[in-house]
């Protein structure tokens, strides 16, 4: 049973098995520090030059019951020799602080059959016979099921060094993992110092001792040892999650106002901004609700201060009327939607890409707005800058779609070099020349200027009613028609500047897989796998969903079949009730079918997890002859 014990004598001599990549999970009850352990592990690997992608494992509740299947909290780290673009498939190795959180991950299909399990053994001797029996039973079943279970006396070992093992176990485990994966010991110790820098030497030292103890224990007792060779980094890289990257992007883009109302999984972006935004003259306004947050941002932008409002699905729904106003009155506005599962309260901590259509077509009437999606962590940073620019250049609403998986995932990317042209130009407050009207639309592009309060001769009343180029209420039907035309033309004008996105793979082939947003890495990895088997499959990833770059239809024509892969619902033709006429397609599939007049298939999953490359691969293979 206790493999660790059995292999005690051989442990030291065992040399490391070289791997191209591995997926590691650390799960505990919440509050036991598995997340900090995972993040530190990832940071050490990143500093050594490994490619990493981390995913937070978050229970739905703040304090779920201890030792519960739903309570798993922690981190998944995929580390590799080269760049890693997604969270990967099932885990190869998992550390669990109790057997129940482990079962949670098993149930969710997150563990590879036969994977390595490092399990806290203290439950075996628990005073409560119910607990000890249950633990023993589950352990047996896992072993019988082919898992490689290593029982580890984590608590006992920690108690040799600290009085409260609950607060030290995570660093002990970090030590175990660093040894197992042959990470640099000095770097690991340094990382602990960094992690606890704020708390001072009195906290750093015991945690470093715990790390050493974990390392030592693994060295003495474990026969598993891997190395994932890294190419040492030559350039500085940033390690942040998507929401922090968004916050950094907001700062870097010269915005001055972020109006928000707390909502998972978007809040951490505003938390971060609340810390630092005021250093650059910014304000985070926590409004009374999302309607107010949107209106506040609109007011700020109208007054010449670049503004963003950050939210998630339910909040996005509440903002719809305000978004329509910004469209109608041509006020630049960036709206970030870090999507979660919907509808209604849905799955607050889980990923879904279900808001594309409401982003593109939401708000009543014809409300053309720009919709962009971010596809990785680096993109979270740069897209805010692009969104701000587009919003201000065209006086439009730009909706930036991220999602719960990107919000909490980490992936290193080259440290950005600040450019002053990321910032908004200073607001023009010079008097408005005679004869110039507030919506002085360019007849070709629909582009209009705007007058900022305080600007002499620019006085007019902006209105959410249909209006003419002087902002006078349109009582004449032709005026309404013209206003809608002008606002619509702005998207066309922007579209002319967009480049056809590059193909991953060849220009011609049997199948093209199209995606948007956070699925990029997983789709490309899946496509790469089938290509390696000789299939002619390519992938296309869209950043601009509205307007869509030109040339996409031509790209589709190079393929016999086209499908989208999205983390949202589509009916399955295998279902008895479903046929060609009633099938509901995935979000992007609907849009592409309408725009390109091509019979586009789709596949998706709404299990609240980032779609795994293996699942996509399977869906692709099913569609290949």
């Amino acid at each position: 049973m206790n493999e660790g014990g059995k292999h005690k004598t051989t442990a030291r001599k065992k040399s490391a098995v070289e791997l191209a990549e591995h997926v590691v999970e650390i799960v505990s009850d919440s509050g036991e520090g598995a997340q900090k352990c995972g993040q530190s592990f990832a940071s050490i690997a990143a500093r050594m030059g490994n490619g990493i992608w981390t995913v937070e494992i978050i229970p739905a509740e703040i304090q779920p019951p201890a030792r519960s299947v739903e309570g798993a909290s922690g981190n998944r780290i995929r580390l590799g020799s080269g760049a890693i673009t997604n969270g990967g498939d099932a885990a190869d190795l998992v550390v669990a602080f109790n057997e129940h959180v482990l079962l949670g991950r098993l149930r969710d299909g997150e563990l590879k059959p036969g994977c390595i399990i490092l399990l806290e053994s203290k439950w075996r001797t628990d005073r409560d016979p119910e607990i000890s029996t249950l633990y023993a039973t589950i352990c047996n079943e896992l072993v019988e099921g082919g898992y490689r279970v290593y029982e580890i006396p984590m608590e006992t070992e920690c108690l040799r060094l600290v009085t409260d093992a609950r607060r030290g176990k995570n660093m002990f485990v970090l030590g175990l993992l660093c040894r197992i994966y042959s990470l640099d010991r000095a770097l690991a110790l340094e990382q602990v110092a960094l992690t606890f820098a704020k708390k001072g030497e009195s906290v750093i030292a015991p945690n470093q001792r715990l790390l050493e103890a974990g390392w030592g224990w693994a060295e003495e007792n474990l026969d598993i040892r891997f190395s994932v060779p890294a190419t040492p980094a030559t350039e500085p890289r940033l390690v942040v999650n998507g929401n922090t990257a968004l916050g950094l992007g907001v700062m870097a883009s010269g915005m001055e106002v972020c109006a928000m109302y707390p909502i998972t999984p978007a809040t951490s972006a505003s938390h971060y901004l609340s810390e630092v935004f005021q250093n650059v003259g910014g304000v985070v306004h926590q409004a009374e609700d999302e309607i107010a947050a949107c209106a506040f941002a609109i007011g700020a932008s109208y007054a010449g201060k670049c503004a963003v409002t950050i939210t998630s699905g339910p909040g996005y729904s509440l903002k719809q009327e305000g978004i329509g106003l910004a469209v109608m009155a041509e006020i630049p506005l960036v709206v970030v939607n870090v999507q979660r599962g919907g509808p209604a309260t849905g799955q607050p901590t889980k990923v879904e890409q279900g808001d594309l259509l409401s982003a593109c077509f939401g708000s009543h009437g014809d409300a053309p707005k720009v919709v962009m999606a971010v596809s990785d962590i680096e993109d979270c940073f740069y897209s805010v800058i692009t969104a701000r620019k587009i919003a201000e250049m065209f006086n439009v609403v730009v909706v930036l779609l991220s999602d719960a998986s990107l919000g909490t995932a980490q992936q290193p990317f080259p440290r950005p070099d600040f450019h002053e042209d990321w910032l908004a130009p200073p607001v023009d407050q010079s008097p408005v020349p005679e004869g110039v009207t507030p919506y002085d639309w360019n007849p070709k592009t629909g582009l209009a200027r705007r007058f900022i309060p305080g600007q002499p001769n620019g006085m007019h009343t902006l209105t959410g009613l249909a209006h003419d180029s002087r902002s006078r209420i349109a009582y004449d039907p032709a005026v309404n028609q013209e206003g809608i035309r002008r606002r619509s033309l702005k998207l066309a004008a922007l579209q002319k500047t967009l480049k056809t996105p590059p193909l991953f793979g060849d220009e011609k082939g049997e199948l093209l897989v199209i995606g948007w947003g956070s699925t990029k890495g997983a789709i490309e990895e899946a496509v790469q796998r089938v290509r390696a088997d000789g299939y002619s499959v390519s992938a296309l990833h869209l950043k601009f969903l509205q307007p869509m770059a030109s040339g996409i239809k031509e790209v589709l024509q190079g393929f016999e079949r086209v499908m989208t892969v999205e983390t949202n619902w589509c009916d399955d033709l295998e279902d008895e009730l479903i046929d060609e006429e009633n099938r509901r397609y995935s979000n992007l599939a609907w849009m592409l079918r309408a725009r390109c007049l091509v019979d586009i298939d789709c596949w998706g999953e709404v299990k609240g997890q980032p779609i795994k490359p293996g699942r996509i691969e399977k869906a692709i293979r099913q569609r290949l002859r």
């Binding site: 940033l238 010269g254 250093n279 007011g299 009343t461």
Partner: protein, 330 residues
């Protein structure tokens, strides 16, 4: 001699324009004849003229309703937005623009129903702006539906058998909110007094909330008649720190009370009177904190501050290549 007289005048001409009433007047209002909104508009235009407020520094923000048409009739900047959302828009405008004078015109449906959440929070934020609640106790624009301030029994298109509940009291509600700083009441048919109230509200630093009892002759022609015809039913609040009792006012309003606007307890009692309409300043607290003064920092957003602070933030998250690190970058 001649020189010394003309020089200051010359300076005056070049320094500022002399604004006339018509400089503030835009199109002819499309309100019904006798609508109380007309009186409010006239008082506001007079205030702007008397204060010689530059047109470009004025922003009138409104929601949707008859009263929310107000900005269109001012030749200033205006923002005629969404039903109920005037206040959050006004807050966003004011946040980083202390140079702008922000006014909000809102109806009883706009403010006390669909925008009620924003109303309470706006009182608490106490941002520097003048808020006029045009309270006709009915929905005008949508043609006579009960509003939250409609009195019990009022017949409307949605309450043909009479409104079911007592009306909401905007003054008492406002006076119950933390950080409230200025609450006053006026009636549209007492223009001189209305002007005084709007003027004092304008000079108050913080959010000044004025409930203006406003007639809607179109849908409730006789609704306020008993108050109009019987001056005894108005209670004039006077105080040396509020509106002093001038001979004219004293003659017009026999019912008077000397009320110290710093006395919030008495203000709440006055707000709750049901038989008479109190007019005057109920509450004023110059010391209440304005949100825009305490949120954020004094740092200006300049390319330099962005660069410096962004670099510092990037440093926090940067993983340096081992060689650089070992060379002391750590």
């Amino acid at each position: 001699m001649v020189m010394s007289v003309s020089a200051p005048r010359c300076l005056q001409w070049s320094d500022r324009e002399d604004y006339e009433l018509e400089d503030y007047e835009a199109e002819v209002p499309r309100w019904c004849t006798g609508c109380g909104d007309l009186a409010i508009l006239a008082a506001v235009q007079r205030l702007c003229r008397d204060e010689q407020l530059p047109l470009e520094n004025l922003v009138f923000v409104s929601g949707i309703g008859c009263s929310s048409r107000f900005p269109h009739y001012m030749k200033t900047y205006g923002f005629h937005g969404l039903h109920g959302r005037a206040l959050p828009v006004a807050e966003g405008i004011k946040l980083k623009r202390p140079d702008l004078h922000v006014f909000v015109n809102t109806g009883d449906g706009d403010c006390c129903s669909i925008g009620a959440a924003h109303w309470l929070h706006a009182i608490r934020y106490n941002m520097d702006m003048t808020v006029m609640l045009h309270d006709n106790e009915i929905y005008g624009l949508t043609k006579k539906q009960a509003s939250p301030t409609s009195p019990k029994g009022l017949k409307s298109n949605t309450t043909p058998r009479g409104a079911y509940l007592e009306g909401l009291n905007p003054l008492a509600t406002t006076l119950g909110v933390a950080n409230v700083s200025f609450v006053a009441q006026a009636v549209d048919w007492a223009p001189a007094h209305l002007y005084e109230i709007i003027s004092q509200a304008f000079h108050h630093k913080g959010l000044s909330f004025i409930r203006i009892v406003q007639r809607c002759p179109e849908f409730l022609p006789a609704h306020f008649d008993s108050f109009m015809q019987d001056p005894e039913r108005l209670l004039l609040l006077t105080h040396e720190d509020g509106i002093p009792a001038t001979p004219d006012l004293s003659r017009a309003y026999p019912q008077r009370e000397v009320h110290d606007p710093s006395d919030i307890n008495r203000a709440r009692e006055i707000a709750s009177l049901t038989d008479r309409i109190p007019i005057g300043i109920l509450y004023r607290n110059e010391a209440a904190v304005c949100y825009e003064d305490v949120v954020g920092s004094d740092t200006l957003s300049t390319p330099k501050t962005v660069r410096t602070n962004l670099e510092a933030e990037l440093d926090k998250f940067t993983v340096w290549p081992p060689s650089e690190e070992r060379e002391g970058r750590g």
